[in-house]
Amino acid sequence: MNEVRHDIIIIGAGGAGLRAAMAVVETNPDLSVGLVSKVYPMRSHTVAAEGGMAAVIKPNDDRQHHIYDTISGSDWLADQDAVELFVDEAPRELIQLEHWGCPWSREDSGQVAVRPFGGMQIERTWYAADKTGFHVLHTLFQTSLQFSQIRRYDEFFVTKLLVADGRCQGCVALELRTGELHVLRAAAVIVCTGGFGRIFPFTTNGAIKTGDGLALAYRAGAALEDMEFVQYHPTGLPGTGILITEASRGEGGILLNTEGRRYLQDYDLGAPLDIHDPRHPQNRSMELGPRDRLSQAFMHEQAAGRTFQGKFGDYVELDVRHLGEERIESRIPFVRELALNYAGIDPIVEPIPVRPVVHYTMGGIDTDVHGATALPGLYAAGECACVSINGANRLGSNSLTELVVFGARAGRHAAAAAAGLELGGGAEIDRQAAAERERLAAWRARPTVDDRVASIRDDMTTAMEAGAGIFRDEASLAACCGTLRGLRARADRVHLHDDSPVYNTELVSALELDGMIDVAEAVAHAARQRTESRGSHQRTDFAARDDANFLTHSLAYRTDDGPRIAYKDVVITHWPPAARVYGAANDADGQA
């Protein structure tokens, strides 16, 4: 097997991975970075983020507000020490992106413009029209090209982390172009592979969001934290699940049921102002409530028969017509492009059909504020990690900021830890690499069975939606856990039709599925054992938040018989748990 040595290996080259790579070089220009991705960096799903990126920069805002919005948005499950660091380092990281050329939308004065997003007291979302993630990703990628210390391995799929002497020392990667396996050795590995929305059938996530890095870390012994918390974005296009950004509501868009009513007023989200009132939209109110609460309100409206029925299931209407063509074209042009192309709707003249859709996974690889896991040498950052700043529900426009703040932190910390480190364990690494080669070879030699990768994947996503969707209970989760065990057995037998070494995308799909089933089991088991409702995790059989028993993070550890769930305390610094209040009543809040 071809063997390469770097100081740091980064798996995943989206926003977090690229930022981490540059942080390594900034920290120590003598270090070499291997940046490994199953796709070319600019295909990473950061590219699809639309609305914007939160950081306190305007004089009317304050760190206390951003901290409080994030913590209350998380339903008090975020670690408050991490949130404080995050809020304090966010402005510097966004200014860094500005210096690297990100085309932020601007005020007439030339200063960066901000817009409101859901769950915020003060508007603080920086944006590049409604293609913020696209611009951030391309800015980071293009900027990274000037650093010769960063060696890219584009279209390499990592199949295993290598652990010897109690330390993660690299990985085995499949080169898709040739089918060759490579051993990439390093003093530290940073996993930045994104979330796992693709374990669900209806998601905004691109095809590549299969949670590969979580499965790698889980199998190497790291814990997956808070996996039961999955965010449904309230406004996806029916059928495709394509995201219609929250910025459409930040700019003043409203949600309507079949009666033409702004139904959010019936769910403790405040009272609506007239759409022509200059104070509309109001921060932390109505359409600018948090995502979990808006998606849950949809489910109640659906149960009450006040949603529209369409070919792709029920929907409500997102109406932005009152913004007018000029504002739609300047602020949310991508919304118009997507609605025109994929729903045949021009938002200038018609409301957009929308429904809740799996969007973001709060859970991930358990890390500290430096991105370090409990396994020495293994780091994680971005959506695949759980620091946790997102808790039970992520605040809109915190995720892109999380990529750069914690990508940079992980890169700096790994660089400091890796410099000059002498590694042993060479024989053990060789043994593991050989075993991995045999595992993959055996896979290709499996006997024919009457089953397909896609059929198992379909059954998995169906089970997740039925058992672990917006509303869950003991019966639905028990059934889901059982189904997933059966799918594990099927995945262990499934045979591949493609025997070519070159771009064998069927093999890649099978490897992705193999990991996704582990990740899905962690979600279902953690959800089953959390017998309370908090944020995005809503148990119909345990409807209330239970701080006495569950002000804790779940930790899933892999065993051959399925996940073992443990818990650790939430870090509280200055904001003791309180009720989440949105609407006008929240005016007195947030000044802790």
């Binding site: 510097r92 210096h99 004065s109 293609k131 090209l145 691109g206 059928g239 997507l338 039709h497």
Partner: protein
Amino acid sequence: MSEKTIQLEVFRYRPDADGPGFQTYDVPFHDDWVVLDALNYVKDYVDGTLSYRWSCRMGVCGSCGMEVNGEPKLTCAAFLRDYLPGPVRVEPLTNFPVERDLVVNMDGFMSKLDSVSPYIVPKDEAGGGPSAEHLQTPAQLDRYKQFSMCINCMLCYAACPVVGRVDEFIGPAALALAQRYNLDSRDDGRERRYDVMFQDEGVWECTYVGECSEVCPKHVDPAGAIQQAKLSGALDYYKRMLTPWARRS
């Protein structure tokens, strides 16, 4: 009840097996399906050996460019209904070496992107990192914004007759990107990009056919960027001739 179908004729090639050819698949026709949906149907339920790239299925990741009935298209944005009654011929992007099936080799494209120094060259390299934002007015943003919208889908390279003729031509997307940075009020890298942009295989190679702008799914208008660059390059040339001492390294 018989389901309505449409036929795909898909280019197949495996370097480790027989030579290239076309394979036909009958797939269900849905009014709202794009060509990519049809390929995914084949991959998932008919023939797992078909290989192609895709991810976001919303026209922003740039992975799924292919020739559809001889035209470069994002297959996630090419609706089957526009190709009735079929068949729909799906081939890899032209002007690129084919690795397998619908997967092309991107090495050349990636090195061309890299060659134009597509990043801000700061005007003042003060140490200690950034402390404040640069001001950039909406008008200054508008000068380069359109050229910053490229998703690297490479449709313009497939459409460009010059790329087909001259391998070394830097090409539409990379030249538009160079121009994007040249026009950014925060950038001071014009000199650094000069030699690549204005070499023989740079902007002068473009014969302004405009196919690149025609096929661009994001309306970047690389042809316009190249024309702008030619004009400013010509002015730079005379400036260099007349004031050679002003040229920085």
